[in-house]
Symmetry: C2
Subunit: 253 residues, 2 copies
Amino acid sequence: MSLAGELRLIPIPLADEIAPGDALAEKLLHSLRGQRVSLRPGDILVIKHKIVSKAEGGMVDLATIRPSEDSVSWAQKYGLDARVVELALREGRSVVRRKNGVLITETSHGFVCANSGVDVSNVDGGRHALLLPEDPDRSAAQLRRQIKKFTGLAVPIIITDSFGRAWREGLTEVAIGVAGMKPMRDDRGRRDPLGYSLRVSVEAVADELACAAGLVCGKLNRTPACIVRGYRYPTGRGSARDLLRPAGSDLFR
Amino acid sequence: MSLAGELRLIPIPLADEIAPGDALAEKLLHSLRGQRVSLRPGDILVIKHKIVSKAEGGMVDLATIRPSEDSVSWAQKYGLDARVVELALREGRSVVRRKNGVLITETSHGFVCANSGVDVSNVDGGRHALLLPEDPDRSAAQLRRQIKKFTGLAVPIIITDSFGRAWREGLTEVAIGVAGMKPMRDDRGRRDPLGYSLRVSVEAVADELACAAGLVCGKLNRTPACIVRGYRYPTGRGSARDLLRPAGSDLFR
């Protein structure tokens, strides 16, 4: 039984590894059928980007990367793979910080994260690196259309990755692709129960949904997606770009 | 019916405003009884700091604050309340950034956030400002002991606030006080299903739990707390300080 106002996170495990060209929407729906769970109106589907990138073929054979001298010496200094460093530099449009073996870049999409989001874990034992989806909003919109085709339901889709933060230790999930909802809840101008106007109350709900999903979508339990049920999301068109602070108004790059 | 692996967030609404000296644990348990919900082993209790600060009397009468000339001129320039600016500067142990009307400080606890966490919304219409709890870990530990006294269950407690981030727009909830669990899940050294060691996989689960709770604990719906049910949290002693990156290894202050 669900209580009124309760929110539920329903994991969607996938037994198989995802390969380039795989039909992701069908595989997720197949897993749900196996659990006897049906999508419902109001559900949100949250998906880790790795399976999206894999399905889209966003893998790079590290043997094809010729690192620059600079990448080689920096990688040697910190015990890193120079080819991954090289790839991360290529995938970034600017370097935000590069110090103590940490490389923080701004990606072509505008995300500020470590190594431009280039990842070698959970891929194939270190031979290939996985890139972020080329256009995660577009990937989310495509999945949304496919899910609608099969189920008749147009559910919001959030694609996530694990990013580090300034000032705080540890990674948390963030939304890198959004379709079918607004990623921010804007309460500015509304009044609290005591009549005081809420001044700076823009809540990054897509990132909070990503974090919530991160609790059930484990790296080690082959659960790359989940349903969020019971959350009244901000309706309307939205993009993960809405979550990006323009460099000009950012005090920390 | 709950499915295996499912996670549930159960809101704990409070009808009344919290006043200094209120017995928070009793009020939360009273609300749960009203909903016919019982705490269970494995539950986590997540609580917005505002009711904790209010119960602890962490309110400052703004009429008692004499802002410095500097605070007055800066506040005038950006249409802010000089007394709140003054209080924020007093509550911080250092200023991290101060530009474009935004004041980012490091608080006495070590949190990096806007205005040292000083807040005037949802207090009493702008007469008083609310401070962060003096020692949020201690507040969490006290609540944990009281909940245990009444229910026999030693559940983890997370106290949260809404912080802004570098690079990304919007606020998200973060853990500022933790008792009864480790705030980080450390998968370093474990191997993914393909045998590749997970290199940088420390997950700030207390912050993800805070974000998840943020989805059901609204500013406007008088729901300052919730239960997270079904999450296998990292057991052991922990502190919200574990989430703070030491200034010396932080590339962004």
